[in-house]
Symmetry: C3
């Protein structure tokens, strides 16, 4: 079935087994589902790697396009902040460097993906799962979805090429409200700003979206891939440069007092609840 | 009168005789009308040449700006697919090369046009007549107009610089729905996405639009031309590069099996009706 | 108080005395108010210099961000056309050169501003006070505000980088209507086009806006500044080039007959009232 049930860890035919995601291929569509619903699909280090790997495979397989979605009620709650708590013996600098390298490689996979890439946003989205939407070709969202990038609350700065894609997509003012001033958008607001391509009622979301995508899967494969590549070819170099700049800046941010204090305060507040 | 009657082939004063278009100049406006209403103004090889020629002349004449519109109920149904059926003795490669050269030269005329360029979209628009709208300065449309670019249905890929102008104008998602997934827009949808500047009720369309344009024709000519050129100067080089890329890709597409099969199937379906 | 009373010329603590603007700093916000309400805050040569100076200082002070607003009922009526009537003994060319240099330096200050820059548009805005809004990070407007750039009526051409920022923000058609064809926008129209970030009812405008900004002032300073810089770093060079092109073009325009006649006619019409 199109919308996988929770924690279904059966491997898909023709795809290697993944631990943190589910990958399947049907109707000429490769489907990648974040599969950590008990943590709102927060992205662990392992997941960054597996998603990147799955995208690389999907780019080469027989599918016409690929879809990213989430198992459960959430699309993705962003970077798992526990990623910052396992400081290696080499120290914080090592952790910051490794994290920046991992993030840069992860985002590169989206920039370079050679076929249409579709996000099926099945619930609330936060952080990196929002910013990378600017690199997707289609973004379909349930009306229950929200979009939130609270970077400055955590003393951080934008990633996923959002410092480039968001202002171009929605204008400087609206991008600033999201990326600097932590404004959370409803699905309809996100659609008006171009971050979401179409919003569907939650009750019929899965049915309507997958019916449409199934139909899209019947179109000429090469025509779609080449058309996407035409659209992107002149942006790729710029996007990679932006990705590098953003990761460099985050490296500095992660070692800054502003960021450290904000993350400590996040965990303290959570502990109080 | 401003809206020419069908098939009026009387030459306009001060303009050379054209076979497939009507060109006239009044109120400091050069008006170019596609004049093949019995075929919904589908563009033949001859029309590509004549439109290009008319634009070149309009760029040099005394007018303040130029207008493109269609005779009859349609704006333009796009490239006449019969252009693909007259395969020259030299073979398909020759036809693909010639077609790509013709298209590139045609689109270049729009990129380089030195004065404001206005589209008066008097009815449905398809294919190349939609994609070049991204190169116009103003696009006024009747509410009866629709906008459709079914490239992948025909195994083809975008032209008219739309792979560049559409994502910038309407965002990646909406551009992808049009350019890859064959979505047809109403006039109001096209206006919300920036493809159309303003929509008018069909009953008053011709009257309202030409009254407004007549007024615009009284403004300082150089101020308008120089202002347009300021807006465009930094994009021209990029647009020409995109135009070349798109025509190269179409050359490959026209010789592909995907495209051949799609066009044959188009004619077979039409024959059945 | 946040909304200064008219003509309050008391110098702010920690800021040098200005003649034509009011500068104050509270709640980690540097506030710059145009203070020539009796002339609708039309910008004199002195004001260009003082605003530029104040921005330079605000970029270096302890504030988290800076705000530009106007004293009285108007935001700003644009360039004071009397700036063109004091022709120096060296002649018109000297005046045109000096004006272009002054304008270029003024606009550069907005391009280079290193922190978030917020416009609080307290009433109608005209000319240069509209075009520079494309260089702000947030633009909050009262519903009483209007936005008008009647360049071609005055035989002139766009400045403030609007020939670059407006088409990207609102699309070519809407930018052309404003920058070439003198279309005046309401606050809500400007918001739909991305020129304004949010519109507030005039009755609660000052209260709502300053409450929100006070809250924004509590966010981590470096995170905000670095995030803005990430967004802008790849555009700066281009914006400076556009600024130079626009000022070059205006120098030519100011010496043209079209422009001279249009300005003479402006003063004659005003004298008749």
């Amino acid at each position: 079935s199109e919308s996988p049930t929770k924690n279904n860890t059966e491997p898909s035919i023709g795809h290697k087994m993944y631990e943190t995601i589910q990958v399947s291929c049907e109707d000429r569509i490769t489907k990648i589902f974040l599969n950590r619903p008990e943590k709102k699909n927060a992205i662990t280090l392992k997941m960054y790697e597996e998603i990147g790997k799955a995208l690389e495979e999907a780019g080469k397989d027989e599918s016409v396009f690929a879809v990213l979605s989430g198992v459960g009620d959430y699309f993705c709650s962003g970077n798992d902040l526990n990623n910052f708590t396992n400081i290696p013996p080499e120290g914080k600098e090592k952790m910051a460097n490794d994290s920046a390298d991992l993030l840069e490689a992860f985002v590169s996979k989206f920039i370079d993906f050679p076929k249409p890439l579709v996000a099926v946003v099945n619930g609330p989205a936060t952080g990196i799962s929002v910013t990378i939407l600017g690199l997707f070709d289609l973004v379909y969202a349930t009306d229950r979805a929200t979009f939130h990038t609270p970077f400055s609350q955590l003393g951080q700065s934008p990633e996923g090429c959002s410092s480039y894609t968001f202002p171009r997509m929605m204008g400087l003012g609206k991008a600033t409200e999201m990326l600097l001033f932590n404004k959370k958008l409803t699905a309809h607001e996100a659609c008006n700003l171009g971050l979401v391509t179409e919003v569907f009622p939650d009750s019929s979301f899965q049915k309507e979206v997958w019916e449409r995508l199934k139909e899209y899967g019947t179109l000429p494969k090469n025509s779609l891939a080449f058309s996407k590549q035409l659209i992107r070819v002149n942006e790729k170099e710029k996007l990679h440069a932006v990705n590098i700049q953003e990761c460099e800046r985050l490296k500095e941010r992660w070692l800054s007092e502003e960021c450290m204090n904000a993350i400590i305060s996040f965990f303290q507040n959570r502990a109080k609840l």
